[in-house]
Symmetry: D3
């Protein structure tokens, strides 16, 4: 984790970075239930899950999202501000023992409604150990332009 | 937390529900850093935060989102499936000691691309103790229709 | 979780409610040891447990009690006050991987030593996935009477 | 924490032991909510608590009980078995920042319904930093008698 | 845990004490990653570990050290001060499911550079369930001498 | 966090790297007590601490060490192996609210007793927000040499 200044002009369409892997554990699910208060049986009740199509406990969507985004938190750009996320989709379930990794790709640059800020779209893809995409979203950044007061 | 069956036809535009409040604590932030691996100084370094416009440690966006969504997890509809989230925006910072509550409003119903499923949009608004909106998003549900094999 | 006002007169002998299930995990035991400081080998040492009649690590009694009571915490009655618990008994061990559910039955109503308050006894039964009772206790509530200043 | 063998005959009425102190923190309450799923506003919502007679967040009863019992878990008697607890009463609220300590007194010895086991009553008293009693209960032990097959 | 006063003169070379056992769990590793921010794949990525000589996730060195030292924290000597540790060595990996125990031996007494304080060396050895040494270190204590103002 | 290959020859005496800051919180101390089982009153009892020279709860030595080492865990060198730590010293207490940062300096290179491995000494210094050194240690690495089978 370190600071690295990047202005709007410095972002390159197509640039991507990939994280290492992280195994999602029962501990992660139990702690996420505890943090959020979501104790739905999909995450917490092995007996009920056996009666469902997915058969096993699955990670909370907010857990997969939080860990995936956290895995990308390696460089702090003091010129960028997170505006939010679009098109967050949970494509496949994440089970206990699955190992996820994340690829982030710059896929859009455009003007914002403030002249000194451009808008960057980071496309976030989360894969499991079988190279299946399990989650996607778009992270929207507002980034200062160079030489703009 | 309990099961309550609702078909697509049962959802009413304009129906809303409101959660009780929950105070965001230093513990929540430290545990969320620990769960996600995001130890950015915005959340973890009081000295650095003093040098920034917001002055104090702020909650991770993924923390506010996870807790807010968890606060709404009270009824399990076995006929509904979460497709994902759209237009997630972090409007104001959430500080340690802020108390948030959530209002969820059904604001859109439409056909999906499968005839037996309709799509519901739940608009999620998160307020702090001063009634400022701090976060919004749209939760997209696919819901079974009645009498549809 | 929501508020629901109930006066002493509103409680009906024989009324019962049942929770969903929750699987007790290794994480729960490790975190409960950490919260309480009880690191007895019954809970923390798989090698020692192999030498004991129960063969496997067992949940702390206080863990089973805390989770079971927590599972029943769904409605807040502003007219009721918890006085405490009687006849808390640990009937069978709870092992890692067991799934518990709780049935709460109103089984006694009587006068308290204050005229405006009645005493309610909620009988709490905790079952595992084999429908064995693993824990029981009686929760004692003091509840306001109607039309009593 | 260590093993110390004590038979029924070894317990002395009036014998007592006292723990050191432990401060109950916001972290304890947040983690106990997370472990039990009890996010009642009494423990989690500072704004709502301001409107209540007790003014501040209070520890869950199950938290005070679990920590207090954990504080007494220093010696493992392989001849004793915990049967349960009686007369658990929450006498005063425990607030964040309160420091509790526990005194355990042997106050009853009697026959059980099995000839080789006697029943011991340990009276548990929990005090805060002002020497107010905040919780009491009776821990019931079944203990092997000497020279009894 | 209790206070037990011991002056420099009271420490006996060769005296040793041994803890009970504790099983190192996946939960311990996930929580230690969360506490320290060390999410190296050696501890967190089962897929990557399969490609390494040790094949399975291993405990952080700082985790083994912290738990082992914590296991020895049973008596508080108000006359002693921890100066630090020397020769901390990680001899064998600690895997999830391993059960460790600790033996502490007084192996050196000598003068310090202050006349009223002596220096004690506690040799700490950590064993797994196969009686392999997995970690060693020397804990250095400064201890008040008797009758010395 | 990423892989970066460095052979013994690549390490430069005097090279140093500095981490960002991290504030040590009450949560960190409570969770470290829970992970290690060390509930000594120095860390857990505000009332007792008021009677001591340091007046306030202090971080466990193993906590400061674990977090400081974790803060340096940014690059994984597949050619290096951690042998252990020497001269770990706790110089000043770390209090709740202190913010620490870490400087790591390569200060020694020498032959090991295996011809294909050299030994590197990383000197680790931990500072608080007042630029006081609170902890030091030496991290000993064994590192592969280039062109050595």
């Amino acid at each position: 984790m370190n600071f690295k200044t990047q202005f709007f002009e410095d972002y390159q369409i197509g640039h991507h970075r990939e994280t290492l892997g992280r195994t999602i554990t029962e501990t992660d699910i139990v702690m996420h239930a505890g943090q959020t208060g979501d104790f739905f049986p999909h995450h917490m009740d092995t007996e009920w899950c056996k009666t469902q199509p997915f058969k096993k406990r699955i990670a909370h969507g907010t857990l997969t999202f939080s860990i995936a985004i956290g895995m990308t938190a390696t460089e702090i750009n003091p010129e960028a501000f997170s505006k939010g996320y679009d098109r967050l989709r949970f494509i496949k379930p994440v089970f206990i023992g699955d190992t996820i990794r994340v690829i982030v790709t710059i896929n859009e640059k455009k003007e914002s409604n403030k002249p000194h800020l451009g808008q960057i779209n980071e496309h976030v893809e989360v894969f499991n150990q079988n190279d299946d995409i399990v989650m996607v979203c778009d992270h929207i950044l507002l980034v200062n332009k160079k030489n703009h007061s």
